[in-house]
Structures are given as C-alpha cells and as structure tokens.
C-alpha cells in the first residue's frame, strides 16, 4: 500500500482506478480518461493533487533566500497572493525541479513535485546558510484543483459569500488567503480555474460539495493530456537534472535581470543560452501528427539538422490527433518519426497546442 491523500475514500466512492504514482495510491481515471479530459475543456473538473509537496518559507531573509534559490525572481511578487512559475536549478544548470511560488502574508509558499520531495527538501535546507529563514513542509494540507470554463462560477457559488466573491474576483496567477484556506488562479490545464490549498480535514467536504455541483472528478491520466495540450512540461519527462532549462523551453522563466542577482545555476544557464544561439544546443519544440498514429515519449526523431527525441507524446482528445514535445536540434524545419517501423512526417510547431478549449498553433 502506498501513501494516501485525505481524499482516498472519495476516489474509491467515485469509482477510481487507483495506480501507484511515485509511492502514492492515486486515481489514474474514474472510467474514461478522454471523457474526463473533455469535461475540463468544456465544463469543470476537480483534481486531487494533494500528493504534491507544499513548503512554506518564512523569516526575515525569506525573499533574499528565494532570490538565490530560484531561477525566476520572487522580487517580482509585489503583494501577497501573487504567483510565479520557476525552475530550481543545480549549480551546473540542471533542473532539479519546477515549482509555483506564492507570496503569502507570512513569507512564501512553494508547491513542488511529489516524486522530487525528498531531494528538494534536502536541497532547500542545504542552501539556508547565511539566511535567517525557516523552510517548513506542510503535509497537513491538501490541494484540490478545479478547472474548466465553468469552474470558477461553480466553485464560488458553493462557498460562503465573502470567500465566493474573493474567488470570483481573482485575476490569473493571483491568490488570496482566507483564514486557513488559500485559493489561487493557477493550474496545469490551459483552462481557467483555481487551486484550493486547505487543511487536510476539510478536503473531503469541499470535494463532496464540488461533485454535488456537477464538477466531475478527473484523474492523473487526463491531467497529463491536458497539460500536454497546454504545452506545459512534466518534470522527470520533459526536463530533469541532466537538462538545462534552456533546452527545455524554460529560458523565458529565468530572470536574468537584474544582472547582479546571484541565483544558483546562473553562470551555467548564461553559457547554455549563448551555446543555443550558436546552434550548439537543442531546443524543446512541439510536434503535430495530423494523420493516424500516436507519438510516444522516447521515440527517436530525425530532422534536417540531426537527431532528436520525443519527451512527451499522446493523443490529444481536443484536437483528435497526436501531439508531442520533443528535443531536437535548434533551427530544424522538418521532422520525421519512426512509429513502429513506418517513417512518418510530423510538423514542428511552437510547444503550445490548446488554450481555453481552442487550437492555438499554426
């Protein structure tokens, strides 16, 4: 038996197929992954992402510490509730994780991946020397992500008036602390929606209320196809410790300005950026296969500039054909993939396929 979130019984009640996910017993689907995917694109779905690790950072040096630890710059977060996506880099520039950081009344709240929990906490704790800072894991919290075109309207109607109005009024990438509830307009689907970070003991009631309001449960299977359509990277698949953010379509999330901010990995990624501009490092792009067949992670591709590899691939339920992320030589214009012995031409596009239910690439 693996670790279980406070919503495990709710998953069983909803008919979940439970699988092991990095040591956690998690719902992969509740029947049909495609139906759950379409539910999020067309109405509203709820995901239990309580397996993800919440880490609170407080202390007088919290900002100075995170400006050193993270590739993006938390000084951009001017007021409590604001959110930022960032890579956490190793000294050699490898991506040790990707995360969301929120500015909070007490300091900062960071949500990191579950599979990287142990090494992330060890790394964060190893970097506190010289900073007056406390790094505290919050396993007592649960996370429910509610996403889809009707998600905010439906979710805010369930809450008490003050909370409901606060949720309805949130701007994208903004959150608000409401007592022991934290809610933010962030997510991993390319649809609008909110994430609720709540005390573990309150999670089941919120879940049940959402389901009673016709928000459907969505498993990790659909979470993966939704994020792929949105062109969002999955840690451990599209990037990891062996890859620079520069070759992982994450350069725009690195804050190089101000030039005197000394963040971990800065020298390495500065070199990587120059090398890529010379064509000496690959890039992460999108691939589209409009014919039959499905692109899969690990498949080799060849371009007019050399060899590459698919890092994430699947069938897109919204587009009804296959899409993928692939790392290929920078500047490639044509690409072929070998699908079970047959060489197939695929199209190179920007790594962003679907936003707000609509196709976005040319």
């Amino acid at each position: 038996m693996g670790r279980r979130t406070p919503l495990y019984q709710q998953h069983l009640n909803a008919g979940a197929k439970i699988v092991d996910f990095a040591g956690w017993d998690m719902p992969i689907n509740y029947g049909s992954q495609i139906e759950e995917h379409n539910q999020v694109r067309q109405a509203a779905g709820v995901f239990d992402v309580s397996h993800m690790t919440v880490v609170d950072v407080s202390g007088t040096d919290a900002q100075r510490y995170l400006r050193h630890l993270l590739a993006n710059d938390v000084a951009r977060l001017k007021e409590p509730g604001q959110a930022l996506y960032s890579a956490m880099l190793r000294t050699d520039g490898g991506v040790s994780d990707d995360l969301i950081v929120y500015r909070m009344s007490f300091g900062y709240r960071i949500v990191v991946n579950c599979a990287t929990r142990d090494k992330d906490l060890a790394w964060m704790n190893s970097q506190t020397d010289g900073f007056e800072v406390a790094v505290t894991e919050r396993p007592d919290l649960a996370i429910l992500a509610v996403h889809g075109p009707s998600s905010i309207e439906t979710a805010s109607a369930l809450l008490d008036q003050t909370t409901g109005e606060a949720v309805a009024g949130l701007k994208n990438f903004r959150g608000e602390e409401l007592g022991d509830l934290f809610v933010a307009r962030t997510g991993y689907t390319g649809e609008k929606g909110v994430e609720f970070i709540v005390p573990a003991e309150d999670a089941a009631e919120l879940w049940d209320q959402l389901l009673a309001a016709q928000v459907k449960p969505v498993g990790l299977g659909a979470r993966d196809t939704l994020r792929l359509e949105a062109g969002m990277n999955l840690y451990g698949q599209d990037m990891d410790e062996s890859t620079s953010p520069v070759v992982s379509n994450m350069a725009q999330t690195i804050a190089f300005e101000p030039a005197d901010r000394d963040f971990i990995g800065r020298a390495a990624v500065t070199d990587d950026l120059a090398a890529q501009a010379q064509g000496n490092l690959p890039e992460l792009i999108g691939l589209v296969l409009e014919g039959r067949g499905v692109l899969r992670a690990g498949q080799a591709v060849s371009t007019d500039r050399g060899e590459g590899q698919i890092t994430s691939g699947s069938y897109s339920p919204t587009l009804k054909h296959s899409i993928a992320l692939a790392r290929i030589p920078t500047g490639s214009t044509t690409c072929q993939v070998d699908i079970r012995g047959s060489v197939t031409e695929v199209r190179i596009v920007k790594p962003n396929f679907v936003r707000f239910g609509k196709k976005v690439f040319e």
């Binding site: 049909s32 992954q33 495609i34 039959r292 067949g293 499905v294 899969r296 699947s314 069938y315 339920p317």
Partner: protein, 129 residues
C-alpha cells in the same frame, strides 16, 4: 471485474474468437484487454484477403496510454474487416464482444482452435495477470 463470454475461445494475448458453422472465425479483443488499454483512439486492421498465421501480429490498437499489437488466434485468410472501427475506435471500449470485433478469417486449420482457452481457463489467466 471484466466480462468474459461463456461460448468464446480466448488467447493468452487477450483476443477472443467465435467460429461459425462455415469455419469463419470472428476475432476481437476481450473486455479485460480493452479495460487495461483504456480509451482506444486508433485501430489498424489487416488487409482484406491477407493470409495470416496463428500468433502473427495482424492489427494494432492505440489507446491514450499505449500501442498494442493484436495477434491472429488462428491461421487462415482474412475475409472481412470491421472498417467502422477506423472512424469509431471507441467502439472497442464500448462493445468489445459485439460491435467492436476486428476481423474475420476463413480458418485453414481447425485443430488450432482446440489449443485456445475456454472461458474458465481465460478467467484464471486474467486473474494471474
């Protein structure tokens, strides 16, 4: 628990076969197989008139999760293919034993049929999976 039909024969690779009085075998994949694959998004079928051998890869199912080969349970000639699956592959999920059939073959070796599992043996095989 997935559904297993009493009168069919089954392979270890999760195809089912039903043979009519004229020696025409209808082939599909079991409920257990479609459930394990998840949502099916593409199906490739054998060519009409092709001669196939038992245990030969003759079709492919691609689900959201993975691609999987379909093996012919018996030797013979392909007499019919279920072209409806090309446009509606989800039929395999919805109706694996009826509308979700894959192809039919005129069997050339009746003895091969005896080597396939009956429903009880297949149920045990699925439990071992």
């Amino acid at each position: 628990m997935s559904k297993i039909i009493e009168d069919l024969r089954y392979t270890e690779s999760h195809e089912w076969v039903s043979v009519d009085d004229n020696g025409i075998a209808t082939v599909g994949i079991s409920d257990h197989a479609q459930e394990a694959l998840g949502d099916i998004v593409f199906v490739e079928l054998p060519e009409l008139g092709a001669t196939v051998n038992a245990r030969e890869e003759v079709a492919v199912v691609e689900s959201v999760k993975a691609a999987s080969d379909v093996y012919s349970p018996l030797s013979g000639e392909v007499t019919e293919i279920n072209e409806a699956l090309l446009d509606a592959p989800e039929t395999v999920n919805a109706s694996p034993y009826d509308n979700g059939w894959f192809f039919k073959i005129a069997i050339s070796d009746g003895v091969e049929l005896d080597e396939l599992m009956d429903a009880d043996a297949y149920a045990d095989h699925c439990d071992d999976d």
